[in-house]
């Protein structure tokens, strides 16, 4: 009875363990496969899709442009949200559907601060960094609200965040008395467009910075272990000295911070805000990014890089569809079809079917007997 299973005799390797199956079991299989498919499609359809050109923008800066740049640039908000969403999903087994609405709040707060309460401002009325910090504080507070409902009142995350989803945009409008503030200070738009003299859009840098911060946090703290442990078995985690409620709350607050950064990038692109349209449906994209990254939406184990990749794939898809002149209103229908295809392919049941097709003869014999 003491024979370790490492012993080749007791450890049976399944004969049907094909390369294909091992590949499809990889967590990153789906997002990578999707990305490869998209790239191939674009290469075949029009290889110019990947062209990067150097142009001069309206402000006279030399900047890089092209579809790839625009994918990387436009995915920024989504990537940042997807990171926070992954943590929330892992710890609480649910998703925050209020991120779009709280992005509106963050944008609204930041604009109110820099405009100093006026409808239009030509120069910033407040230090930008201070304004962003205030924005972060406000959305972290809303994150804490969501987190409290989830962690301390045991409300399912989707439902708990339904509250902010319903009220968020209204609160955003209320913060600015339903006016639409506009800031014309160029410095405000640096974060959403280009820094003077640098040809790469700033959001790309911000995204890299955020990813780096999370890499460090996951490496030098136990956030990852605790979050997964709480997501898998909160009772057991508690008996091992972890405070599950605290960890859940923490992930929601972290998501709140991510939301503020994403909201800041978004308002900084245009210097204005439209409460009902800003970041519309982005919560759906963020959740899809998490799922696409191979993370179980029921929580537990997670891979943050999968979600990041998932976010880029979604943006890639969006950009590809735009290129083929799919009207923006019809875009959701196409996206839906792609999403369904992807999710169906990644479903365990389908993967097994696909894998068993390769060894079909053996299987059918067994079924008959």
């Amino acid at each position: 009875m003491t024979t370790p299973v490492k012993n080749p005799e007791t450890r049976v390797k399944r004969p049907e363990e094909s390369l294909f199956k091992r590949l499809t079991r990889q967590q990153l299989f789906i997002p990578v496969a999707a990305l490869v498919l998209l790239v191939l499609f674009n290469l075949v359809a029009d290889y110019k899709f990947f062209a990067v050109t150097i142009t001069e923008n309206s402000l006279g800066n030399t900047v890089l442009s092209g579809n790839i740049i625009s994918v990387l640039d436009n995915a920024s908000e989504l990537v940042i949200l997807a990171i926070g969403m992954t943590l929330v999903t892992a710890s609480s087994g649910g998703q925050d559907i209020s991120v779009g609405a709280t992005m509106a709040i963050a944008g609204s707060v930041i604009l109110r601060m820099v405009c100093g309460g006026q409808v239009t401002a030509d120069t910033m009325q407040m230090n930008l960094i201070l304004a962003v910090i205030i924005g972060i504080a406000v959305t972290a507070l809303f994150g804490a609200f969501n987190g409290t409902l989830v962690a301390y009142f045991n409300i399912q995350p989707m439902v708990a965040t339904l509250i902010m989803y319903t009220a968020g945009r209204s609160i955003a409008a209320w913060i600015n008395n339903n006016q639409l503030p506009i800031i014309n200070d160029l410095a405000f738009k640096y974060a959403g467009t280009f820094l003077p003299g640098i040809p790469v859009p700033t959001p790309i840098f911000i995204t890299i910075l955020v990813i780096a911060v999370f890499w460090l946090v996951l490496k030098f703290t136990n956030l990852g272990l605790y979050t997964q442990s709480v997501g898998i078995n909160p009772n057991s985690s508690r008996l091992n000295g972890i405070n599950p409620q605290m960890i859940k709350l923490l992930t929601y607050v972290i998501l709140g911070v991510c939301v503020a950064v994403a909201g800041f990038i978004r308002v900084s692109r245009s210097g204005s805000i439209n409460y009902s349209r800003i970041a519309e449906n982005i919560e759906m994209d963020a959740i899809l990014a998490v799922a696409l990254g191979g993370n179980a939406l029921s929580g537990g184990k997670f891979n943050i890089y999968g979600s990041i990749l998932g976010a880029y794939v979604i943006q890639f898809l969006t950009t590809t569809l735009y290129k083929y002149e799919v009207p923006s209103t019809a875009l959701p229908a196409y996206k839906a079809v792609v999403v369904i295809l992807l999710v169906v392919l990644s479903a365990p049941a389908v993967r097994e079917k696909l894998a068993s097709m390769k060894k079909a003869p053996a299987k059918t014999v067994k079924e008959v007997s």
Binding site: T166, S170, I340, V344, P348
Partner: protein
């Protein structure tokens, strides 16, 4: 060993059977609705004192009642369907285009509505039940798809001018004894629209389905614990599949009722109704974890939600954002109360 030690585990043998979770939550909902409405009648008065005001809540929300009931059923099985609002919208638009541009009639509209609902239900139900994909993701895609298709059918609003249809739309069924005199002293009879009758019929039918049929009880069993349900010999996949088909079918029917109420197709139709339906179900005592809920509760959930909206706007907070904020606050309150009640109960 003396007797008596064994029996006394966690719970002593209770003589009185404790109230089931479903009934407890239903009771809370009904009580809250009556308190809200009576408050409005006695303290706000105005239009609230007229029965027609109450009937108008029904008239405006016949479609939402049907949608919410479908949502409750899916939620009872432990799933969710956020495509219902978009399906409603798609049904409206397609029906309007059919009536106006393709010479359809009321029967083709019914066929279109139920057909679209059935199609969504079958596809989503198959993906959820047989491939084991999370319902949230599938219905999210379903919602995107329906939204996109709506704009592909027509971007512009389509107003219906078909007379036979308008005749049905404007049919008013008088409710005897509830009318009231207007300012000029002319007696105005109270009325409901055709849709309300259908919606109420749906509530009654679904109530019976959930209470007295095997399928209905299977919905609860699957939501309570789907592995156990499987072990108990219930076909979990088929049950989930049917729940989704039923929900989408009801969304199709909801679309027909919505169309019957507004008489036009518009991409903004039924916007956010999936959230209203979820909110109504929750206020009505359905738990998103599954296994607990009741369509009668959901019906009261719809009424409570719309009553509070009216109360808030009649208190003078009529900017658009207040309505949303109060709905959210109401939802928050209900969730917290439910969670406290259930936590307390489970502790005992």
């Amino acid at each position: 060993m003396p007797k008596g030690i064994a029996v006394d585990k966690q719970g002593r043998l209770k003589e009185r059977v404790a109230m089931s979770d479903t009934n407890l939550l239903l009771t809370i909902t009904v009580v809250v609705f009556f308190i809200l409405y009576l408050y409005a009648v006695f303290f706000l008065q105005g239009s609230f004192t007229k029965p027609q005001n109450f009937l108008n809540i029904l008239n405006n929300n016949a479609s939402l009642i049907v949608l919410s009931c479908g949502m409750s059923i899916v939620m009872i099985t432990g799933g969710i369907d956020i495509s219902v609002g978009a399906v409603t919208c798609l049904v409206c638009m397609t029906s309007a285009v059919n009536l106006e541009r393709q010479g359809g009639n009321i029967f083709t509209v019914i066929l279109i509505g139920l057909g679209i609902g059935l199609a969504f239900g079958v596809v989503q139900g198959f993906l959820v039940a047989h491939l084991g994909i999370q319902p949230f993701i599938i219905s999210l895609a379903g919602m995107f798809f329906a939204k996109g298709m709506t704009t592909i059918v027509s971007k512009e609003p389509v107003r219906v001018t078909d007379e036979a249809f308008l005749a049905v739309k404007d049919t008013r069924i008088t409710v005897p004894g509830l009318g009231s005199p207007n300012k000029l002293g002319v007696y105005i009879p109270a009325y409901v629209e055709v849709g309300v009758v259908i919606a109420l019929l749906v509530v009654v039918l679904l109530f019976c389905l959930l209470r007295w049929t095997k399928l209905g009880r299977n919905f609860y069993a699957v939501g309570g614990n789907n592995q156990s349900a499987n072990m108990l010999g219930i076909n979990v996949r088929r049950t989930k599949f049917l729940a989704h088909v039923l929900c989408s079918l009801l969304a199709g029917l909801g679309g027909i009722l919505y169309f019957l109420h507004v008489g036009s197709g518009d991409v903004a139709n039924a916007a956010g109704d999936e959230m209203n339906a979820i909110a109504s179900s929750i206020i009505g005592g359905t738990l998103l974890t599954g296994g607990v809920g009741n369509v009668v509760g959901t019906f009261f959930g719809v009424l409570s939600l719309n009553t509070i909206k009216r109360i808030v706007s009649s208190l003078g907070f009529d900017e658009a954002w207040w309505s949303n904020i109060t709905v959210a606050a109401m939802l928050c309150l209900f969730l917290v109360v439910q969670s406290i009640v259930l936590l307390r109960k489970n502790k005992k």
